[in-house]
């Protein structure tokens, strides 16, 4: 019980930190949204009056009053699910805009990450089990893919698989002309078809890390005494591999899974940009390039919260799989 209480306390602090960071960044940074907007309008040759400044200040949600009062307003708005109004999609609420983009990213990044994790763990296990085999010698090659920038790999895949050999669509989330979003077979098929290349990018560039980590843990675990005992008992090698070695070796990878999620989300932001995928990353980029501050803050908050939530899930699972973590704390 104490284990879970500690975890809950940690997540409360992390949640507070994410929310507060989201509040503080715009106020600590040298740039001021209102000033940036005014200089842009001035550059575009629009007339600037004192009223313009005031109107912008209200529109961009800069509530007056002391910083504590602003913080209070911010928290209250947040609890009401009010993240402000998006400038790029003008009368729309930020929450609505994010709500449209979020399922795309969760499906794409989530599925790709899980596929990459399972494949990487499996291959890493085999590589560690048979050291010096061809699979083991393949590991340095896959780590090279890990050092490849996500978006560059995406560019290469686009060049090869949509230009040279045109088998995949160039951009987008689904076929806009022939299908409409909904729970129809044609739409889901189209979404998978369009999501294949972005997903492939994520899998290729993240699988190396899982393989290497699992392989190294497997090698370390195999030199433990209980493996020798298991082999000496004459247990079936498959049983030694799965139940004795792999099960213990997978634990660090599992806790690394949570940590790496933030990295995967970050990588996919830029990848989505290359594929014009209608997800959160694309939204963040739109917000950034149009100085849509409310949307930008909202997207950052949602990304932080999703990473936190994924961490929580992994933490709870980890506690179930490895009883020692519960006992030790």
């Amino acid at each position: 019980m104490r284990f879970y209480l500690q975890k809950i306390a940690f997540y409360v602090v992390a949640l507070w930190a994410a929310v507060t960071l989201n509040f503080l960044i715009p106020r600590l940074m040298p740039g001021n949204p209102v000033d940036i907007m005014i200089s842009k309008m001035a550059a575009a040759g629009q007339p600037i009056t004192a009223g313009t400044r005031h109107a912008l200040a209200i529109e961009l949600g800069g509530s007056s009053g002391s910083i504590l009062q602003q913080y209070g307003d911010y928290i209250v708005n947040l609890l009401h699910g009010n993240l402000g109004i998006s400038l790029t999609n003008y009368p729309e609420q930020v929450t609505t805009v994010i709500g449209q983009a979020l399922p795309w990213t969760i499906a794409l990044v989530g599925l790709a990450t899980v596929i990459s994790f399972i494949l990487g763990i499996g291959l890493g296990m085999l590589a560690g089990w048979k050291r010096g085999s061809w699979l083991d010698n393949l590991i340095p090659v896959t780590t090279m893919f890990q050092a490849v920038p996500y978006f560059w790999l995406a560019l290469i895949l686009v060049l090869v698989l949509t230009r040279v050999v045109p088998i995949f669509p160039f951009a987008g989330g689904y076929d806009v002309t022939s299908t409409t979003p909904g729970f129809s077979l044609s739409f889901i098929g189209s979404a998978i078809y369009y999501g294949f290349l972005p997903a492939l990018t994520i899998v290729i560039s993240s699988i190396g890390g899982w393989m290497l980590g699992m392989r190294n843990m497997m090698v370390s675990t195999l030199s433990e005494d209980y493996i020798v005992t298991a082999e000496a008992k004459g247990l079936n090698p498959r049983r030694v591999r799965m139940t004795y070695a792999a099960r213990n070796a997978v634990l660090p990878s599992l806790s690394g899974f949570a940590i790496s999620l933030g990295f995967v989300v970050a990588g996919s932001i830029v990848t989505e940009q290359v594929f014009s995928y209608p997800g959160i990353g694309q939204l963040l980029f739109t917000a950034v390039s149009n100085d849509d501050y409310a949307l930008m803050q909202g997207v950052f908050l949602v990304i932080s919260l999703s990473v936190l939530a994924a961490n929580l899930v992994v933490d709870v699972l980890y506690g179930l799989i490895d009883p020692r973590t519960r006992a030790r704390s």
């Binding site: 992390a14 960044i25 340095p140 560059w152 933030g262 970050a266 990588g267 932001i269 950052f300």
Partner: protein
Amino acid sequence: MDTSIAVTNKAGDKPTRVRRESSLSRLLPSRSAKLIVGLIIAGVIILWGIVGPLLVGDPHAISTDAFAPPGPNHWLGTTQTGQDVWTQVAYGTRGSLIIGFVVGILATVLSAFFGVLGAYIGGAVDEGFALFTNVALVIPGLPLVIVIGNYVPQNQRGLFLIAVVLAITSWAGSARVLRSVTLSLRNRDYVSASRVSGEKTWRVLVVEILPNLIPVMASQFVFAIIFAILGEAGLSFLGLGASNTFTLGTILFQAYNDLALTQGAWWWFVPPGLVIALFGCALSLINFSIDEIINPKLRNQTRAARKAWGLTAEQIKRLEKEDVK
């Protein structure tokens, strides 16, 4: 008489000499093929980053020779405005390396501060530092960098600011590892002995504990460099990189926005990414060798060695059968 002295001298010298050699060679990475290949690739790229810009012309010089494929005049072809890609890659490599090393150093210092110091002091400080580290770990880095980068006006977004922001978002993972290693080190007998014998706190930390952390920190430094170069490339690709700097990410940004993809101008965007990938790969190879120092179990082929003790597959099978009986 003389000979016997010489013999004892020899006998007396030899063990110490042998021991010194072996302890030194234990500290250095074993000279495996991985390490040599990694060092050569990384060395060539670093050298190219330093010397290259001095040998080539102005990366921004335009010419009428637009979208020219690689040829004798332009080794890596030209961009949309006829700029020489080879020249640009030379400058971009230098820019990316500078960012990488600055962030690597900053992140290592930050992680050492929060990881080692907290764990050594212990108590409430450790709890506080550990909590801070874990919170920093779950805040997604690149989105934070993008948001911060956008709030800073273009003219103030210098190289150092981008480096600091990247460092702030990348130290936490290393700090967590350093903390756990330090926690196990500080309770070792030799540390207690040096503390009891009256060594000052800073001396225990710097002379007794830090040397044992160097392999871990070296590997983290190498990873921080890769992370920084990748992160900066991503930022620059989105057009949010440092102003007045020219990195490999900047080239990719220009290539993507000037439709190199639709023009099929692969020579414009393949080389910059390839340099990043090769450099990252070289650093990973170096890291493998460092890993083998940290974790001796990775060094010798334990399982393969056990199998090589002479038991053939038939013998193993026979033993298994006997066991079943």
